[in-house]
């Protein structure tokens, strides 16, 4: 700060008065200006470089998030605007709202049905890919392919595949003597269909993450275990899994945060209402329905803030678990 001020004040400056040579005035003036700008550059430019990120994040990320609390404490609709403060009326309504609890139940249900098989399968795939194998890049690319597709497009294709009468999945199940399933009608069957869409996309991605972590485990550990007579199975459970624990927790955290906001797949599969009885309406879909279909911004914000708090608590729990395991 002091440097800045000194550079900015031209005549009364110490350096200027100590050099009273009238003939060289033009030169010193130019030099001084140069020094001033160099100093400005060193002091101010770093802030200018990070400013766009923080300013844009504050306007379009942080402000809307915090403003959600404010809106949730008001009667607030699209047409009427702010209709006044109503304390915690939306929150007391929320606690008694069966649709809200239903949506939470669905969100967590789909999460479990999707994530558990997904991570197990990813682990299996990573284990096979860590062997000496031909065309390893072909298989890696093949695993990543679903990750790089349009979510909505794939959800449309899967919705057709899960069709009751003409879907290929029921057709294939028919060979095993299973009667056509109306996937959208039942709670569990709709969860399974949505979980398949999610897993199709994310299993390969997680397998690659596990594969990277596996290849970082020193081979000597396995060799020592093999010499001691440990079977492959035992090596997997007693070396691979414990060594991968931080990575497994990482993938669980990322999946948790992602899955709590599940939206696209179920919306394409049904509608924002999530089936005739809301049997696959997630909380994010409920927020959308309340806020943008019924235009009730206040109540929608209350649900959004509640879901935000749930995500924060889950993340904190996960972080706590991680540090505990790392410390142990």
């Amino acid at each position: 700060m002091t440097l800045l001020r000194r550079g900015a004040a031209p005549p009364g400056d110490k350096e200027a008065t100590s050099l009273p040579r009238p003939g060289n005035d033009a030169v010193t003036e130019r030099e001084r200006r140069q020094i001033f700008w160099t100093r400005m550059d060193l002091r101010v430019t770093p802030y200018l470089f990070i400013a766009p990120f923080f300013i844009l994040f504050a306007i379009f990320g942080l402000f809307p998030l915090l403003y959600t609390v404010w809106v949730s404490l008001h009667d607030w609709t699209l047409l009427g605007g702010n209709q006044g403060f109503n304390w915690f009326a939306h929150y007391t309504r929320l606690v008694q709202d069966a649709k809200f609890w239903n949506s939470l139940y669905n969100t967590f249900g789909i999460f479990v049905v999707a994530v558990v098989p997904q991570l197990l399968l990813a682990m299996y795939l990573a284990d096979t890919l860590s062997r000496r194998i031909r065309a390893v890049n072909f298989f890696r690319m093949g695993l990543l392919l679903p990750y790089l597709t349009s979510i909505a497009a794939v959800a449309i294709v899967f919705s057709q595949l899960f069709g009751t009468q003409f879907g290929l999945i029921n057709y294939v199940l028919g060979f095993f003597g299973i009667d056509p399933i109306n996937w959208q009608a039942g709670r569990f069957s709709s969860w399974v269909a949505i979980a398949v869409m999610i897993d199709w996309r994310w299993t390969g991605y997680n397998a690659l993450i596990y594969l990277a972590a596996m290849s970082a485990i020193p081979r000597e550990i396995y060799e020592a275990a093999a010499i001691d007579g440990a079977s492959r199975m035992r090596q997997f459970w007693q070396i691979t899994i414990p060594m991968l624990r931080p990575t497994i927790i990482f993938t669980v955290i990322v999946s948790t945060i992602g899955q709590m906001q599940l939206f696209t797949e179920p919306v394409i599969f049904g509608d924002v209402a999530g089936g005739t009885q809301g049997q696959f309406q997630t909380t994010m879909m409920l927020i959308f329905e309340e806020a943008f279909r019924f235009n009730n911004y206040g109540y929608g914000s209350a649900i959004a803030w509640t879901l935000f708090m749930i995500i924060v608590v889950l993340s904190a729990l996960n972080a706590l678990l991680t540090s505990k395991i790392k410390g142990a």
């Binding site: 770093p46 990070i50 990120f53 990543l144 294709v157 690659l208 993450i209």
Partner: protein
């Protein structure tokens, strides 16, 4: 979670190299397990399942709607793709042409903007000295951990105040910066740019911006490509926000195919699947061009 692993992570380009080296070294050792036929069968089956929905998408898109329900099912493309394409682009409920244009513009603009602002901030946080630098770096990581998507309702109100609701500005401006991008660029700067290089440029009288432009940007190019691709992909796929803020009259590709999906009383699968093909194609092209770099990036992220 990411904060604990900030300082000593390997760079984007360094990891595939070291991984390759490790593989070669282990190739001859006893520790590496041999693949059995079962390994190949399992993997091939997985690849088949990965590819099948995309293949099926193209099969139906190149036939007619009846083909989607034919028994036994067609497994080979037909000859109707161009005809379906024409029907798609002339369909008035979907506004597909406009959607394609909007998606291309918004995803490109957001990718360029994120790459630019991220490299700027990442360079500053990694290599420049200023008060509050560490606080700012932690702040960036925190922004990544916060699910800002929960602020969707006030964000929509903000768009209304700006008069951007229904405009493509609404799907560009809120996404112009990314905490993940800044974090990634900072990591890469720490690894890839030696301090001596910056000092030499400084000695030559370069301003900070010239150093950024002439020294840092060329060195960051590999990481910028990966970040640009990831951002383009995320933005192309954006659904929730686009559905909230845009109308079917001025859609993105995703909203256009959703429109086809929701509106048709008797569903025209050939049309929907053709739309899906067009919505997926740009991503697949990017995947085949840059897939290997992306795999390197994902696997590097895992080791951190």
């Amino acid at each position: 979670m990411a904060a604990t692993s900030t300082p000593s992570s390997p760079s984007v380009s360094a990891v595939p190299q070291s991984a390759k080296k490790r593989k070669r070294k282990n190739g001859g050792s006893i520790g590496m397990r041999e693949a059995t036929p079962l390994t190949y069968i399992g993997l091939s089956l997985t690849i088949l399942l990965s590819v099948f929905p995309l293949w099926w998408m193209f099969v139906v898109a190149s036939r007619d709607t009846a083909a989607a329900s034919a028994r036994p099912p067609y497994l080979w493309p037909g000859g109707n793709f161009l005809e379906n394409l024409e029907r798609l682009f002339t369909n008035t409920t979907a506004n597909f042409t406009l959607g394609l244009l909007n998606s291309t513009i918004s995803a490109t603009a957001v990718a360029l903007s994120v790459v630019f602002f991220s490299s700027l901030a990442g360079f500053s946080l990694a290599k420049l000295r200023f008060k509050g630098r560490n606080v700012a770096a932690v702040g960036v990581v925190l922004t990544m951990a916060v699910p800002v998507q929960m602020g969707i309702i006030p964000l929509l109100m903000l768009m209304e105040w700006f008069g951007w609701r229904g405009q493509i500005t609404a799907i560009i401006v809120p996404f112009m910066v990314s905490g993940f991008g800044v974090f990634m660029m900072r990591q890469y700067c720490i690894q890839a740019i030696p301090d001596e290089l910056l000092e030499a440029a400084r000695m030559d009288g370069c301003s900070t911006f010239r150093i950024y432009w002439n020294v840092v940007l060329p060195a960051l190019r590999p990481a910028m490509v990966v970040l640009g691709l990831l951002t383009f992909m995320t933005q192309w796929n954006e659904f929730t926000w686009a559905l909230a803020v845009l109308t079917p009259a001025n859609p993105t590709v995703q909203i256009a195919i959703n429109q086809l999906n929701q509106s048709a009383y008797s569903r025209d699968f050939a049309l929907m699947f053709t739309g899906s093909v067009v919505a997926t194609l740009p991503l697949l092209i990017l995947f085949f061009v840059l897939g290997r770099q992306l795999i390197g990036r994902i696997m590097e992220g895992a080791i951190k």
